[in-house]
Subunit: 160 residues, 2 copies
């Protein structure tokens, strides 16, 4: 294994990027993504037009609440382990080397759940187009993109 | 190995996507990328805001002529084999699991060259922001994004 300090920008060894485990979800939803850790590679590389995360999901964890985006596309590619993709066509098992994509504005909520007994690792990409919103078909939650962050409310618009 | 017909959109088995081996480069430059084959996963998934290719480079081949983009970000993640990343900081060997990113407007040309004796496979992501141009520091070539395609000229503006 090479030393992780060897590469210089614009190259990057992801092992040198500290994983982020937090979430901006309201407290009631935080346990659902407790097993999630994101290495924000795009940010580390200075990219602005889209984000790229190298994300690990522990057994029992999930990528997100099931959701779809109004304006932003999303893409995932499984690198290690296996994840169950939940969408309107049903549950599908994605193994390493499989991909999925979620076009902006398509009202089909998605999330990835790790039902295995070992960690799963995947790459996720999402653009940063303006005016985005997140729709959560299974939960009393709505999200609005505000100044690059997310504001969450109940579906009737009241705050958490 | 699972049957590649099992997955349904929005999931995708990349093995079912036909690789594209063409290039829009002027004829003089085509041999430089002859060993390149791109599976256009983002297009197959209906994504519009960015492209994602699963690209194979044969021994002796290259990802592109060395270039940088005026408006669009680029990201690469190595999946199999090894590729030499060429930029202003010098040549760096990227093995599976390593990444690189090229922020829009940063005048540091990049390309990936396969100097090994086996195929290399990587994911590449680029957004589709308008008004892009490609700058080629090592070649008499300039590119302008026109209606989603590329128009190539000599550096003095004359056509090929």
């Amino acid at each position: 294994m090479r030393d992780k300090t060897v590469l210089k920008l614009p190259a990057l060894d992801p092992r040198g990027v500290t994983p982020a485990t937090g979430t901006n979800y309201p407290d009631a939803f935080k346990p659902r993504v407790a097993g999630r850790a994101k290495r924000k590679l795009g940010d580390a590389l200075g990219l602005k037009n889209f984000g790229v995360n190298l994300t690990t999901i522990k057994p029992g964890g999930a990528s997100a609440l099931r959701h779809w985006h109004l304006k932003q596309d999303e893409f995932v590619y499984i690198l290690e382990g296996e994840l169950v993709l939940v969408t309107d066509v049903g549950e599908q098992l994605l193994e390493a080397g499989m991909a999925a994509g979620f076009p902006a504005g398509k009202p089909d909520g998605h999330c990835l759940i790790n039902r295995s007994d070992h960690d799963a690792v995947y790459l996720e990409v999402g653009d940063r187009g303006p005016g985005d919103a997140g729709n959560y078909p299974d939960d009393d939650l709505e999200a609005r993109s505000v100044n690059g962050g997310w504001t969450f409310t109940h579906k009737n618009g009241t705050p958490y």
